[in-house]
Structure formats: structure tokens, C-alpha cells
């Protein structure tokens, strides 16, 4: 495992005065290995425990509703009848909308920062993006309510309805708060992580790639397309998956702009509701046992959705290997 260089380095540490690699130097090595394994194991254990706790908390709802919990659309705390479908729909649609908006923007920003921008401009822009990541989500929510939504309602949505109203996506009454508003706010929130990771990945593309492409007479755009983006596409896909993970769990800003209505509608102008939002909204005042259990089960469903999305992403990532002209790792 160890390269000869590290062996030499380690044998020179004060803990092992012997200049030759002695068996005793394996002690700290082994200890480190176990510490690292323990840390990794704890993370796995944590996820298992969270899953177990969510299951334990929702057992009553699971036995009461069975799998129909997943496809029932009713959510009525007064009648004690619960179903998760509108929330699953809202979570997936708002997250996918956010990705559709944030990935092109994020990757384009990263390309600009690594390939095109003057060196002097790069650092200020990077800092601005990192500042965006530090804004608390409730601030995005408030901005959404008071700035974004009035603008969407009076301009963008009216424009979309006028020109694309023939699509079911842009029909129905315009309230402002909507699935699309949530998608836009979440897109802004996941933009920093997608941009930062994409930038790191593009920076790690060897210059040899670019030089080779230029040498073949490629234009700047062709270099970018063939030598850089194609080479980095697996990494960029990974950046999108990380962004998606954040989008799925986003709670506060979403609940402030999505309209909080558990319904499934084809229109992006219609209000919706997400798994994380309904848990945050209703948990504090839930008094009946079945109600609390159902909220816990929503948590379990959210965890399941996140795991399934990640597995799907892994499968897509695998299928990407070797299909392109340049093979990466």
C-alpha cells in the first residue's frame, strides 16, 4: 500500500529512531487505520440509527396504512387519515426544477471562472459565490416572499403564460407562490455548491488535454466541448447529484414560497408541498399518536427518496464510463 517514499518519510519520524523500516513502525500505522475505520463506521452507524429511529417512530402509521401511505393523496389531521403522495411529488418536482435551472448556470459559471475570465476577476467572483452559500435559508425565503414572488407574479409568469400557455405546465391561475417559485429559490441556494465543485473539477482537467486539442486545430469552443467538458462530465454529474441532495432536504425557504398545498398539479404555477416542509410545519402541534407517526413516516419516505435518487445517480454514473471518446479512471 505504502509507496517507498512514505516509508522513508515515516521511518524518519522521531517515534521510530531506527533508520530502517522496523516492524514496530506498524503500530501507529495500524492505530491510524483503525481510527479512520472507526470514523467511517460511525457515519454508517449514524445513518442506520436515524433510519431505525424513523422506523420506530412511524410503526403505528405503517401498520395502519401499509404501503398505501405512499400513493394516498389525503392528508387530513382531523380525520386522522394520511398519505404521502403529494409531498413526494412536490419534493421531486421542486428539486428537479432547481437542478434544471442551477446546473447549466453553475457549470457555465465554473467554465467562465476556469477557462475564460481574466485572472483578476476570478477571485472576487469566487468570493461572491461563497458568500451566497453563507446566506441562511430563511433570508432566501423572505427575499422570495417580498421580492421574487411579486416580480414572478406580475412579469415572468404572465409572460410565460402568454407565450407558452398552450403547455399544461404554464396554465391555471397565477398566485405567485408556486412550485416554480420554489424551484427558482432552491436553484439559487444550490448554485454555490454546484459552481464550487464544478470549478474544482474543471481545474483538475490536465492542461495537456487542452494543449492537445489546440494542437489539433480546435477552436476555443471545441477545446471546451471536447477536451474539457467531456473529460470532466462524470465529475460535473457528481456536482449535480450533490446539489440535488441539498435540494431534496431544503425546508425553510421552500415552505415560505411553495404555497404549502398538498396537491398534484401539472401546472408549475400551482402551489405544492414538500416532505421536509410539512414535517417542519406540523410537527410542533401534532397531538394524536397516529398524526405524529405519520409525520415520522414522511421522514422515512424522505430518506428513502434520497437513497433511491442516489442509487439512480450511481447507476447513471456507471453507464457514463467508457461510453465517451475519452476514458476517465
Amino acid at each position: 500500500m505504502l509507496t517507498p517514499a512514505t516509508h522513508v518519510l515515516m521511518s524518519q519520524t522521531p517515534s521510530s529512531p531506527d533508520p530502517l523500516p522496523a516492524p514496530s513502525s506498524k503500530g501507529p500505522d495500524l492505530a491510524f487505520k483503525w481510527v479512520a475505520a472507526f470514523a467511517a463506521g460511525m457515519i454508517v452507524l449514524l445513518i442506520v440509527l436515524v433510519g431505525w429511529q424513523l422506523y420506530a417512530g412511524s410503526r403505528m402509521a405503517i401498520s395502519q396504512f401499509g404501503p398505501s401511505f405512499l400513493w394516498s393523496s389525503q392528508w387530513d389531521p382531523v380525520q386522522d387519515k394520511y398519505g404521502a403522495l403529494p409531498f413526494i411529488f412536490g419534493t421531486l418536482v421542486s428539486s428537479l426544477l432547481a437542478l434544471l435551472i442551477a446546473v447549466p448556470l453553475g457549470v457555465a459559471t465554473a467554465v467562465f471562472l476556469t477557462e475564460l475570465a481574466p485572472i483578476k476577476l476570478r477571485q472576487p467572483i469566487v468570493m461572491a459565490i461563497e458568500m451566497l452559500a453563507a446566506v441562511p435559508s430563511v433570508i432566501f425565503g423572505l427575499w422570495g416572499i417580498f421580492v421574487l414572488i411579486p416580480w414572478l407574479r406580475d412579469y415572468l409568469f404572465v409572460w410565460l403564460k402568454h407565450y407558452f400557455g398552450f403547455l399544461p405546465l404554464f396554465q391555471g391561475p397565477i398566485y405567485g407562490v408556486s412550485m416554480l417559485a420554489a424551484g427558482i429559490v432552491v436553484a439559487i441556494m444550490i448554485l454555490p455548491i454546484i459552481t464550487s465543485i464544478s470549478r474544482e473539477i474543471l481545474r483538475s482537467v490536465p492542461n495537456l488535454q487542452r494543449e492537445a486539442a489546440y494542437a489539433l486545430g480546435a477552436t476555443r469552443w471545441e477545446v471546451l466541448k471536447i477536451a474539457v467538458l467531456n473529460y470532466a462530465r462524470r465529475g460535473l454529474f457528481g456536482a449535480a447529484v450533490l446539489g440535488l441532495g441539498r435540494a431534496l432536504g431544503e425546508t425553510m425557504a421552500v415552505t415560505m414560497v411553495i404555497g404549502n398545498r398538498p396537491q398534484i398539479s401539472a401546472s408549475l404555477f400551482a402551489p405544492g408541498y414538500t416532505l421536509a416542509s410539512v414535517i417542519a410545519n406540523e410537527f410542533t402541534e401534532a397531538t394524536s399518536d397516529l398524526y405524529l407517526n405519520s409525520l415520522f413516516e414522511l421522514g422515512l419516505v424522505l430518506m428513502g427518496v434520497a437513497i433511491l435518487v442516489n442509487i439512480a445517480a450511481q447507476i447513471m454514473l456507471k453507464s457514463m464510463t467508457g461510453s465517451g471518446p475519452i476514458k476517465v479512471n
Binding site: Q74, I145, S277, T284
Partner: protein
């Protein structure tokens, strides 16, 4: 405001600790529950600290559901709830658990209409709006109650609370009381399955959406509407008179409400001629027999103080104090707490 308050509390505590270096360790009484009365409770604990420095109250506004759960599990010394506990939950209590009303509050119906006219509404109309059966502002049912008011032909956009809350409980309790159709289709609760409308988070979320959306209607706490200068409707009460929500009209509603022996009452649509119809009380949940003698004694002393001196702080914070008749009955109940 909250952080200001907690800093003050922290400062006060630090001061009390510094001064009390001679006295023995301070007793800590823990409570948790409803967020609606948190302001008045914090004020009470602040003031009471000045009278009795040997005890400190710690109240966490974790919501009525949490308050009921924690007092049932006896992890706190008292609980607090905006709605009375259900029979089912009360049966889980290990010993007799009492509801003790502290203050009342009103829920007002705010709207966004051009020119901010004063709108009159009665219960059945309000229920029909929230059921979606009345969907235009110039509907005859609304227009007939508001002669001389120019009502637009636009859609009514309903806004309700998305988070579970005592405010929603009071509001849906009222709608269930005045509309059999609401009672049968929706019912009352801290969260319900709303037939129409958009959900806003908290009073701020609802008020924000009403303010932003022309033609919107929503409900918020009276205190919130006052502090933010929102217009709100005058409501027709059970005696047939249109009343505006004020501290006095809420106390009048309490005075004319029927209050059973266990204090689990609803005061919506109460019969008094000067009563505002959409209001409700909030309760402390206290065991009839206290396990810890010293804590029980301090708790009872505090409650007696709250009814004699504490109620006067209510109106300043936009809560309605209890009328004398109810205070008398509540005090009698407090005096029977064993410790």
C-alpha cells in the same frame, strides 16, 4: 424582540446569581408548550423574578403538541397548550391533570382590498369563503352585509396557516361552530385539510401573502394585526351585532362563555352582546398532585401571583385578561393543588 428579551433575561439571571451568592442554589421550574402565550409568560416570569428571586422559571415554546407530550411524560413541571387536550390524550396522564386558563386571544380576518374599506362579515359567509363556495368579492352574500362598500369582481384568494397552530385551532373551531357544512367536511384542529387556498408559515407568512396578493383574505392573531397595522373585518357575533376585535370584546366573550368544571371550554361565538366571536383561551397543564413538595409550593405561589397581579400585564401585550368571574374559579382550582 425575542433575542432582546432573552438577553434581558440572561442579564437578569446573571445579576440574580451575583446577588444571591449568600442564598442557596436557585430552584428551576421547567415548562414547555404553546408559542402563542410565550410573550406573556416570559413577561410574568421576568416580573415574578423580582418578587421571588429564589425560583427561576424556564419556558420553552415548543408548540402545544410538545407541551402536552412533555407534561404527560413528566419531563417538565408544567405544560402549556392553546387547545384543550383531547379525552384520548388526557386519559394517558398518570394522575389527574388540570387545565388552568391564563389569558385569551382573538383571531382576526385580514384582507387586501383596494382602498382598505372596513368589511363586515358573518360566520356563514366566512365559512363559505374558506370552503370555496363563495369565490368572488362582489358575491351578494358579502355585498348585502357591506352597503356602500365598493367590492371588486375579482377572485378571493384564501390564505391559511401552513404550520400547526393554536390560531388555526381557534379559527376552525369558530367555523365549525357557525357552519354545519364546515364541521362535517373539514372540522377543527391545529392543522386541517383546507378545501381551498394557499398556506403561509406563521402569522408573518399569512400576513405577508395577504399583503402581497390583491384580493387575498387570511386570518392572523389580533396582536400581530395590531402591531403590523393590518386591516381586519368586523365580525357578526351570536347576538347579531358586528363587533371589532379588541381586548374588551374578547374579555366580554370569555365572560359570557359557558365554562365547564374541568375548564376545557371553547369560547367561540359566545352569546354576549359585546363579544367578539373568534377567540380562544390558552391553558397551563398542571398535575393536581405535585411530586416535588418544594417545586409544587413555588408553582402554586406563582400561579396565585399570576391571577392577582400578572393579569394586568396582559392587555399591554395584546392578550385579553380573564374576567373576574373566571379568575375566581381558576384561583379556587389552583388552591386545591396538593404538594
Amino acid at each position: 424582540m425575542l433575542s432582546h428579551k432573552s438577553t434581558r433575561l440572561a442579564l437578569l439571571t446573571a445579576l440574580a446569581v451575583a446577588c444571591a451568592s449568600v442564598s442557596s442554589a436557585q430552584m428551576l421550574i421547567n415548562g414547555a408548550g404553546a408559542t402563542f402565550p410565550q410573550q406573556i409568560y416570559t413577561k410574568w416570569f421576568d416580573e415574578y423574578q423580582k418578587i421571588d428571586g429564589s425560583v427561576r422559571f424556564n419556558y420553552q415554546g415548543i408548540g402545544s403538541g410538545g407541551g402536552q407530550k412533555q407534561i404527560l411524560a413528566e419531563t417538565v413541571d408544567f405544560g402549556a397548550s392553546d387547545g384543550p387536550m383531547s379525552d384520548e390524550n388526557l386519559a394517558k396522564a398518570p394522575r389527574t391533570l388540570w387545565h388552568i386558563p391564563t389569558v385569551a386571544g382573538a383571531v382576526v380576518v385580514s384582507y387586501n382590498l383596494e382602498g382598505n374599506p372596513q368589511v363586515n362579515l358573518d360566520g356563514p359567509t366566512l365559512a363559505a369563503i374558506f370552503l370555496g363556495t363563495i369565490s368572488k368579492w362582489n358575491d351578494p352574500a358579502i355585498a348585502s352585509q357591506n352597503p356602500g362598500v365598493k367590492l371588486p369582481a375579482s377572485d378571493i384568494i384564501v390564505v391559511h396557516r401552513s404550520d400547526g397552530s393554536g390560531t388555526s385551532f381557534i379559527f376552525t373551531d369558530y367555523l365549525s361552530n357557525v357552519s354545519p357544512e364546515w364541521k362535517q367536511k373539514v372540522g377543527k384542529g391545529t392543522s386541517v385539510s383546507w378545501p381551498v387556498g394557499l398556506g403561509g408559515k406563521g402569522n408573518a407568512g399569512v400576513a405577508g401573502q395577504v399583503k402581497q396578493t390583491p384580493g387575498a383574505i387570511g386570518y392572523v392573531e389580533l396582536a400581530y394585526a395590531h402591531q403590523n397595522k393590518l386591516p381586519f373585518a368586523t365580525m357578526k357575533n351570536a347576538a347579531g351585532i358586528y363587533m371589532s376585535a379588541t381586548i374588551d370584546s374578547v374579555t366580554a366573550a370569555l365572560a359570557s362563555a359557558t365554562i365547564p368544571e374541568d375548564f376545557r371550554f371553547s369560547m367561540v361565538n359566545s352569546p354576549g352582546t359585546t363579544a367578539y366571536p373568534i377567540c380562544g383561551a390558552t391553558w397551563l397543564l398542571v398535575y393536581a398532585e405535585q411530586k416535588d413538595h418544594a417545586k409544587g409550593e413555588k408553582l402554586v405561589q406563582f400561579l396565585k401571583w399570576a391571577y392577582s397581579d400578572g393579569e394586568k400585564y396582559a392587555a399591554g401585550l395584546d392578550y385579553a385578561p380573564l374576567p373576574d368571574s373566571v379568575v375566581k374559579r381558576a384561583l379556587e382550582r389552583v388552591q386545591t393543588i396538593k404538594y
